[in-house]
Point group: C2
Chain length 395, copies 2
């Protein structure tokens, strides 16, 4: 299809887009921002809410805000806002700490839940590096070994010695979406527990944690959930595991009576057991306001638009970019595609710099990957067509 035909198609698709109006709830400019899978754009409700938390809740009420402004319960309250986005019933998610710290809690917790006689942790071979580093540390501290395995052969690799398997739902590099229901079942059939890292999927597609019987999960909140730079991550512990969940970071916030100041640790029940220290209120406040954009937005509609956007981007790239100049790393099969498109390109680093200079912001992943993230809440089809057009110009 020609350039003008694709531009017309884009306009038609935007006109028919039921999620199109949500874009108004974000602070955007003329840039085509395809890096929402790294740092989500600013939701318009955030600045005023953060300003109020700083000036009134901290500045005026001070210490009283721990009770009067709901600071103390923020980790569980915000966890319950994230829950429906990842298919979890309330009471299973707690927000706080970084993703890495939550991977540590989840992997050590999973090893302990798996019980005696299981001393092996499997991680997906293409894991985001920090997951592998932290899993290795968890293994060292719990007397386990770590083994990276290709996910294609996970069912064969998992066995009677496997305690836990840590898997990224969407591969950060290629954008490949892994089979959460099938891999969960395979891990559990071997008597092990699965820990899913949802960093690159939550907020872009349905996860179905409860429906698929996932054991534990972690995720960040600054990508498709738009919580802001370094906003706190979250931990999901399935209700059936909570009573036995034994955190390696039992801070005073997970004590049954945090202000009792007792010398012995006695863990609280429920999601709160995943808490550690004092919650980071300013970042939580930004995240809480950011999650407001999801009011009444079904994740299924977001997924449908995400696939339409990435399909359309691939179509435009195929139409505009000289053949052979880039190759598509992201699976074409919808069932295996996250909400990003990765293109392999020899001079990817230079190309991305040129794209950014022309107002199309994606990111570069060494050594040769152009990575474009598609956030359905604030991206339109015209943005996508323009991105492909500018990419073709640069190339």
């Amino acid at each position: 299809m020609s350039e003008s035909a694709l531009a017309i198609r884009a306009a038609e698709l935007d006109a028919a887009d039921e999620l199109g109006k949500i874009r108004e709830q974000f602070v955007l400019d003329e840039t085509v921002y395809l890096d929402g899978n790294s740092l989500g754009a600013l939701p318009a409700a955030v600045p005023a809410h953060v300003a109020d938390v700083v000036a009134r809740e901290w500045g005026e009420l001070r210490i009283r805000s721990w009770t009067e402004s709901g600071w103390w319960e923020a980790p569980e309250r915000i966890g319950d806002l994230i829950a429906p986005l990842v298919g979890a019933a309330a009471g299973q998610i707690v927000v706080g700490d970084s993703t890495s710290v939550n991977v540590f809690k989840a992997v050590v917790g999973a090893v302990r839940l798996a019980g005696e006689g299981r001393d092996e942790i499997l991680v997906d071979e293409g894991t985001f590096p920090t997951d592998g580093y932290i899993a290795t540390s968890a293994a060292r501290l719990t007397g386990c070994t770590v083994r990276p395995v290709p996910l294609d052969s996970l069912a064969a690799a998992v066995g009677p010695r496997t305690a836990a398997v840590l898997i990224n739902h969407v591969d950060y590099r290629s954008g490949r979406l892994h089979d959460l229901p099938g891999l969960t079942a395979a891990v559990q059939a071997a008597g092990a527990l699965v820990v899913w890292d949802l960093c690159h999927s939550a907020g872009a597609l349905p996860v179905g944690l409860d429906a698929h019987g996932v054991d534990l999960a972690v995720g960040c909140t600054y990508k498709f959930l738009n919580g802001g730079p370094g906003s706190p991550a979250y931990l999901y512990v399935a209700a059936r595991h909570q009573a036995a969940f034994d955190s390696p970071l039992p801070g005073w916030n997970s004590h049954v009576e945090p202000f009792g100041m007792r010398p012995e640790f006695m863990p609280v029940d429920g999601a709160r057991r995943g808490r550690v220290g004092t919650p980071d209120i300013l970042s939580m406040a930004a995240l809480e306001a950011a999650l407001g954009v999801w009011d009444g937005v079904p994740v299924e509609a977001v997924r449908a638009k995400s696939l339409a956007l990435t399909d359309f981007f691939l179509e435009c790239v195929a139409a505009y970019v000289p053949e052979g100049r880039v190759s598509v790393l992201t699976p074409l099969d919808h069932d295996a595609r996250g909400s990003q498109v990765a293109l392999r390109c020899e001079d990817a680093s230079d190309v991305m710099a040129a794209l950014i200079a022309r107002g199309v912001v994606g990111d570069f992943r060494a050594p040769d990957v152009l990575r474009f993230g598609f956030t359905p809440l604030y991206l339109g089809f015209a943005d996508v067509e323009r991105a492909a057009r500018v990419l073709a110009e640069v190339l």
Copy 2:
């Protein structure tokens, strides 16, 4: 001395106070805020800085701010702002995560630095509970045992099996200041490492980490450093230990090449080795702005005023409060006093509620302690006199 005489003394002391003008750099009201040892008051520079980070750095520059707005280096940069306040040369402090998480890094790190054959962790008997919980978890994961010891007999308790000793610099309940130089020397004489928790001392008195050869230290930033609710904590690793410091939380941020996305972990040198995951930028921004109030303020002057404030408070309490109604838990000896006064009082919970209702905010610690924190940067002597007067009225 009579009430009016003490009020006149207060006015004279305020007039002569060289730190008196710093109060203008805080957002205050008619309340006498004696809870800065729990949550510091809002520095006036914070709201505008946080608003700029949200609206411009996040909202406009988005992902570019990781490099262009200095987000990536924030943990070390802010660590270097804290360093002079605790007597550390630059390059040894990194900001991030909660105090509890940093206690975990420090205690496991200390056990590993102590080397083979040492399998015991000592904690001070009156420790803030979370330190004890986390030390117990660190012990369990490293094959050690934990033993609480009274600090008076620490020198006798520490021995050839001791790997690490975790001590609170100021007791959170009584306000007792522990002998950092002496205890550090005693621990090191036995070949063990010391980890100091500075939560209740940093920003109120000189700590002298380098001068006294401390091994590792942690602290929060929301008390006397006024960083805001749940602002990130910090970790100090003495320069001589950094090359061998082996963190139990080796996240991608402590990798020598964080964006190399290498499967093997290779730790970076220096303070950055204490980092874990993505830093929490909004909270860091508030903290960085808050630390501006320390420009040109020597900690020694703050300490002198702190002692003068607590002396004067004790004098006013003695003059105003009916004898026998409260007893003083905080040491009268300056060398053993932090920047708080704890009064034991049978009906402490009710008394504190009545005080707060009358605009004097301290806090209650179960079962019978009235706790008053004195932040020399924004408290004056007239505040102190008024607090004692209102306390006497309530009693």
